[in-house]
């Protein structure tokens, strides 16, 4: 039998076997690669190109850094001037908004106080303050148009302010609690001793008619007693600053808690308020009872 050999010393049968093997392996590989076989090549090429991509990214980053650092001084000055102008504008806007924000905060606090006291309180804005002058007072923007009358109590969330002294058609004047001619019926929180608060000026007042036998501590809270029928019982007036024994009575100096020099809005109590004011009654929500077995 003569065996024909081709180039590279392989016979025809060997070439056929080789072709068959390549055909079978090629098809099998194609089948194993499945759909979208290019993705394997793309993954492989992506893996190969990672070093060059990293080098290119570093090169680009270096160029960007060099470009940024090469900015001219004039550009930086221009930008600095622009930023300074923007900063000034923002500060001006902030300064313009600050009073309105403060008024909004005060209004929110007044609203909270109004919800805590179950009386018909009326809000008014402070137009002007003549407190630095002798017998100075506060001018409110509401008067008889709001139904105000003299001797109505005035308060803010920090404490009492004073009482209405005179009421005009559209404005009214407040006699602050630290005025020399002002008087408020008060009591001390711990000893429950009562007295009359008389103004000393500059946010201070003196409690009169407290017996020498009473024990009063510095820092003790001073509340309204409600006996003057201007303020109901229990509103904060201030805190005891000094205590000294006199001939017949204690000399108790009080720092009023309301910031009388920084008021923008106040609440006005109704005339002749009740002596005792209870906080609003809120019915507790019924607890969910576990359902009994067999109940519908």
């Amino acid at each position: 039998m003569v065996v024909r050999t081709a180039r590279w010393g392989l016979s025809r049968a060997a070439w056929q076997r080789l072709a068959l093997a390549l055909l079978w392996l090629g098809h099998g590989t194609w089948v194993l690669l499945g759909p979208n076989p290019a993705r394997h090549w793309m993954t492989f090429l992506d893996l190969l190109s990672r070093p060059s991509q990293a080098i290119a990214a570093r090169w680009e980053g270096w160029r960007a850094a060099r470009r940024d650092s090469g900015r001219s001084l004039a550009e930086l000055r221009t930008e600095n001037a622009r930023l300074g102008t923007e900063l000034t504008q923002l500060r001006t806007e902030q300064a313009q908004r600050a009073p309105r924000l403060a008024e909004a905060d005060e209004a929110v606090r007044l609203l909270g106080l109004k919800q805590q006291i179950p009386l018909e309180l009326k809000a008014a804005r402070v137009l002007f303050a003549t407190r630095p002058a002798t017998f100075g007072s506060l001018i409110l923007d509401r008067g008889r148009d709001l139904g105000l009358e003299p001797d109505q109590g005035v308060l803010v969330p920090e404490g009492i302010v004073g009482r209405l002294w005179s009421v005009g058609p559209t404005q009214s004047k407040v006699l602050p609690a630290d005025a020399p001619n002002a008087s408020v019926a008060v009591m001390l929180m711990r000893s429950r001793a009562t007295g009359v608060l008389q103004g000393l000026g500059s946010g201070r007042a003196l409690i009169r008619y407290v017996s020498n036998q009473e024990v009063v501590q510095v820092g003790e809270a001073v509340l309204t007693s409600g006996l003057d029928r201007v303020f109901p019982r229990g509103l904060l007036a201030g805190y005891v600053a000094e205590v000294a024994k006199g001939d017949l009575e204690l000399r108790v100096v009080v720092n009023l808690s309301a910031p009388l020099d920084r008021l923008h809005a106040v609440l006005v109590l109704p005339p002749q308020p009740p002596l005792e004011v209870q906080p609003p009654f809120l019915a507790p929500e019924p607890k969910a009872q576990p359902r009994k077995r067999g109940a519908p």
Binding site: Q16, R17, A19, L20, L23, W24, H27, G28, W30, V31, L32, G34, P35
Partner: protein, 162 residues
């Protein structure tokens, strides 16, 4: 008694005719599966050289996949056909045919193996897919197309004709 091999021309003509039937039988999947199995298992393995048989089997697989729209066209069928054709050719050389019954039994076994391998390869190439009933009809009709292939391949080739 060893049977003589059929002529090369006749085998290739029969393969070409079967391939045409596979292509034309696309509207009838059951018939197409029968033609496909006959080409791959009975005709291609004896088409002259193993390389020719492999090419006929590959053509059968790609024709089947190309004629079915909802079938994955990723060569799974062609690869399975190639493998089975090579296996059948090797079996023909290793265990020569000696009669019609042995031929039919061999075709039935190869049909089962062919169905499993085709669907396995298609699944590997893509994902799960419906098998259909083509394998059943091919297996059921083994006596018919096996006898026909026997008659056509070995007719007039010598003492092996029956």
């Amino acid at each position: 008694m060893r049977l003589a091999a059929p002529s090369l021309t006749r085998q290739n003509l029969l393969c070409a005719a079967a391939l045409g039937l596979v292509a034309l039988g696309a509207p009838f999947p059951a018939l197409q599966a029968v033609f496909h199995a006959a080409l791959v298992l009975a005709l291609a393995p004896r088409a002259g050289s193993p390389l020719f048989g492999a090419l006929w089997a590959l053509a059968a697989g790609w024709t089947l996949e190309g004629s079915l729209r909802l079938y994955p066209h990723l060569g799974g069928t062609a690869w399975a056909d190639l493998t089975l054709a090579l296996l059948a050719g090797w079996m023909a050389g290793r265990w020569p045919l000696e009669g019609l019954k042995g031929w039919l039994a061999r075709l039935a076994a190869l049909s089962v193996l062919h169905a499993l391998l085709v669907h396995g390869a298609v699944r590997v190439a893509t994902t799960a897919h419906p098998w259909g009933w083509g394998w059943f009809w091919a297996l059921l009709s083994v006596p018919a197309w096996g006898w026909l292939a026997w008659r056509l391949l070995h007719a007039g080739t010598g003492p092996g004709r029956r």
